[in-house]
């Protein structure tokens, strides 16, 4: 029903898509696999009218079409679930769907729309409260609102752009039959992902993109996982694993690991309440991180991770309990965020909002934590010579690819921006490291780099708290794993506990 022929799209001299050809059938689920930056999102944006191809043609139901805007896409019957939810939080579920699915300015078309929504929610075996504001829904529920919204607007083709990125394993498991039901109702489904396992479970046919080119189209059963991965990234690349970074056998560890060493960072009975509703954002959280270990905090986004991190950084004051740093002698240091000399390095979740000053140079960003300390300033004056020297060292050490140290950080690629953050935060060998989703939005190579740096810091004896929503990466490098659900933290017996058990805990069903 949908046929793309020789689609190309250039951003400047960069080809985001190069001669992509793709065809879709009714009632089938077609997977599109590819790395970050392989051109998946660009392809979707073209299908949904958010971008226009430079060349090539699109045929829909046998007719050649030009999808110039989302409205036209919707008129053709294409509905899309975006990677980042496109929902207005202050509006209700019904209002959100009405915004997308109804045309005309006056009537929001409540009655007729409710009928349409119910047809789909019944098929998905879901009974939502349509008058609830979206802000009150969980991530999984929002995902379904998005799907129902897309089904109500489209009706022929459903596009899902990395729909599982924010879901817990069980929620993913529920999504799969739902999508099968959608396909069974006669719709074509286009499922974009870089997660192999899901695609294998769900899709009938796949297309693999690499650097904007189609490298494979066909049945998924003809390739095994290894072959698919190879086609996706070109060469086999493994996630760095804890096991590969243990000190060589025979060599004694240079620090006391485990029970013997006192915790470097400890949270005792920490509780935080949201100011207006008085709901508990964190409840009675106990946590300790010792030298030379990575303590992973798993959990679906929005279960109190943000709050936990801010508590440790001293940006919010817990209602109850203590955050304790280092040995008892250091314990007066309650707020390392305020005291830059404290031994805490932090890789925050949103590097552009919280860690980097994009218009400033790489050098200034590298010096952001040390600029006022002894060799780098004198009587309140900046010693730019020392800055230059130190940042050149860091650039070399962490392999930051930039034209020179004076380039604004905003001009670098995402992976290099993250390297700047990592260099600044880990370069001074802090004793405590707090990393929050450190690989978000990075491609495999850059993710591996960041994870290797964390493992290297672990080897040097740092105490690392890793808050990460990608369970696989988290499990790969953590010594201990705790799960944060609904503001409560529970330690698991990882590595004895299974991945599935942890997944259940993330959803609060265990």
């Amino acid at each position: 029903m949908l046929q793309l022929t020789n689609i190309s799209k250039h951003f400047g001299p960069v080809a985001a898509l190069d001669n992509v050809t793709l065809s879709l059938r009714q009632g089938a689920i077609h997977g599109i696999l590819g790395e970050n930056g392989a051109g998946k999102s660009t392809l979707m944006n073209i299908l949904f009218g958010l971008a226009r191809p430079d060349t090539g043609k699109i045929e829909f139901d046998g007719r050649r079409v030009r999808i110039a805007s989302p409205v036209i896409a919707q008129r053709l019957g294409i509905g899309m679930v975006h990677q980042h939810f496109k929902l207005v939080e202050s509006l209700t579920v019904l209002e959100n769907i009405s915004l997308a699915a109804v045309r005309g300015l006056w009537s929001p078309g409540r009655r007729e729309l409710i009928g349409r929504i119910r047809i789909w929610t019944d098929r998905l075996h879901w009974n939502p409260d349509l008058e609830k504001p979206v802000a009150d829904l969980s991530v999984g529920q929002r995902q379904r609102v998005e799907i129902v919204k897309a089904l109500c607007t489209g009706g022929k083709l459903l596009i899902l752009d990395e729909p599982t990125a924010v879901l817990a394993p069980q929620e993913v498991a529920e999504l799969i039959p739902a999508l099968r039901a959608v396909a069974a109702a006669g719709m074509a489904v286009l499922f974009i992902s870089h997660k192999l396992a899901e695609v294998q479970k769900l899709c009938d046919r796949i297309t693999i993109l690499r650097k904007g080119r189609v490298v494979y189209t066909g049945s998924i059963r003809e390739l095994d996982a290894g072959q698919i991965a190879e086609k996706m990234i070109g060469a086999r690349l493994k996630i760095p694993h804890l096991a590969d970074h243990q000190e060589p056998p025979g060599e004694a560890p240079r620090w006391d690991r485990g029970e013997l060493s006192p915790p470097r960072l400890e949270l005792r009975n920490v509780s935080v309440r949201s100011s207006h509703q008085g709901a508990w954002l964190l409840f009675n959280v106990n946590l300790s991180v010792r030298s030379g270990e990575i303590h992973g905090i798993a959990g679906v986004d929005g279960n109190g991770q943000d709050c936990l991190v801010r508590c440790i950084l001293g940006q919010i004051e817990p209602v109850d309990g203590n955050v304790i740093f280092g040995d008892s002698s250091d314990s007066h240091r309650k707020t390392p965020g305020i005291n830059p000399r404290s031994p805490l390095g932090c890789i925050p979740e949103d590097r552009q909002r919280e860690a980097l000053v994009l218009p400033l140079s790489v050098q200034a960003n590298l010096m952001l934590k040390r600029y006022h300390t002894s060799p780098f300033s004198w009587m309140g004056l900046c010693r730019f010579g020392r800055w230059r020297q130190r940042s050149a060292e860091l650039i070399r050490q962490f392999d930051i690819r930039c034209p020179d140290a004076q380039t604004p950080v905003g001009m670098l690629s995402g992976g290099n921006q993250q390297k700047v953050v990592v260099a600044r935060e880990l370069g001074e060998k802090p004793r405590i490291i707090l990393a929050v989703n450190p690989t978000r939005g990075l491609d495999v190579g850059a993710s591996a780099f960041v994870m290797k740096q964390l493992l290297a810091a672990r080897r040097d004896g740092a105490a690392i708290l890793l808050v990460h929503s990608d369970l696989d990466e988290l499990l790969a490098i953590s010594d201990r794993v705790s799960v944060l659900y609904n503001g409560q933290l529970q330690e698991t017996s990882w590595p004895d506990a299974s991945r599935e058990q942890i997944g259940k805990m993330m959803l609060g069903v265990a």
């Binding site: 930056g37 400033l360 690819r401 930039c402 690629s413």
Partner: protein, 376 residues
């Protein structure tokens, strides 16, 4: 995470990142001024004013001879200080629109001290104390807005604007009451005794001591911004408060301090104006505070740029007086039109020209370092 969601107007820091950029500073500023003048003059030509005659009178009235020149400088002085006030605050992400109120209070305190409340036999201590007190009055008035933001979440933009009006009526009430000069019903202070005037550096002109001080201050601020950790910190706070917080900079303390400095600058300007130029105060005491914002933007928040912009605006004001007095009788309010057009053009030009230039540059692949992770 609604807990960390503050009032929308407070999340604006970072907004001036484009203005702070030094790209094409001087050509852009000069081009903007020229274009603005051209636009307004051609507008006036449409209504029947001869543009060439206006220009020649304007040049004559602003830089033709020692008196016009010193008058321009004297007018640039308060503009420079209110411009610095806006510039410091904006650079640190604090939207202080209240230079007008801070300026008025500085002038009021200075005139009050030097006419009624502080009489010594020798002049220098009175002058110095009056200026210091005026400066601090401006700073404290600005802090009021910071306090309202910190403890009551009132957006600084709004509180400073409203405080401008409060200041205006406070000034008028006091000029009608305790500070009223005898013999007139209007709100007007008595004249400061000539002994307490700021000394004229060139006799019989309005070139008073405050003018070089103001320009030296601009240079000092430039050094502060460019060379010190303080300047670096305030830039980081202004560009990205989140990153500043992570780096251990106390953002709200910094912004308090910047607001205080900004208010002090404006108050200092008011005090200099009253002691150096007008020597008494009336209920309507100029529009320097609002014009200061235009000056700061034209100077792109850079103290040296602000000095240049203040000179231009001073010339504009002084020259326009001559044009008004001449047979052309061009209303003086035109000056405000020029200033406004300058800001709007500045914003538009930096949006369109610089925006386009940078956008194309950004799309270029970062040299050989892209691992395919970022799309434009």
């Amino acid at each position: 995470m609604t807990t960390f969601h503050s009032s929308p107007l407070q999340r604006h820091a970072g907004r001036f990142s484009r203005l702070i950029s030094t790209v094409a500073l001087i050509p852009l500023a000069i081009g903007t001024c020229g274009l603005a003048l051209g636009l307004v003059l051609s507008g006036l030509a449409l209504v029947g004013y001869p543009p060439l005659a206006i220009m020649s009178r304007w040049v004559d009235g602003s830089i033709g001879g020692i008196y016009p020149l010193t008058n321009s400088l004297a007018d640039a002085c308060p503009l420079l200080l209110t411009g610095l006030a806006a510039g410091i605050a904006f650079r640190g992400g604090v939207l202080n629109i209240g230079a007008q109120g801070q300026f008025l209070l500085g002038a009021l305190v200075a005139v009050g001290l030097s006419t009624r409340w502080l009489i010594f036999h020798s002049a220098p201590p009175v002058i110095i104390l009056a200026i210091l007190a005026g400066t601090f009055a401006g700073g404290l008035w600005a802090l009021l807005a910071s306090i309202l933001e910190r403890y009551r979440s009132v957006p600084i933009v709004l509180s400073t604007i409203l405080l401008n009006f409060v200041a205006l009526y406070v000034v008028r009430a006091i000029l009608q009451g305790p500070l009223q000069a005898g013999g007139t019903p209007a709100p007007q202070s008595p004249q400061i005794a000539p002994a307490y005037w700021l000394p004229e550096l060139i006799p019989f002109t309005s070139f008073h001591l405050g003018i070089p001080i103001a320009f030296v201050l601009a240079v000092l601020f430039y050094a502060l911004n460019q060379r010190t950790t303080f300047g670096f910190e305030s830039l980081v706070v202004g560009l990205n408060p989140g990153a500043a917080r992570l780096a251990g900079i106390g953002v709200s303390r910094k912004q308090f301090l910047l607001m205080f400095m900004s208010g002090c600058c404006a108050g200092f300007g008011g005090a200099l104006q009253v002691l150096g130029v007008t020597h008494f105060m009336t209920g309507s005491f100029g529009n320097y505070g609002y014009a200061g914002i235009a000056v700061a933007l034209l100077g792109r928040l850079n103290p040296l740029g602000i000095a240049g912009a203040a000179l231009f605006f001073g010339m504009l004001d002084t020259g326009a007086l001559r044009v008004e007095e001449s047979s052309l009788a061009l209303p003086h309010a035109v000056v405000n039109v020029v200033k406004a057009v300058v800001i709007l053009l500045m914003l538009l030009l930096s949006a369109y020209l610089l925006g386009r230039k940078l956008r194309t540059r950004q799309v270029d692949p970062p040299p050989a370092n892209d691992q395919g992770s970022d799309k434009p």
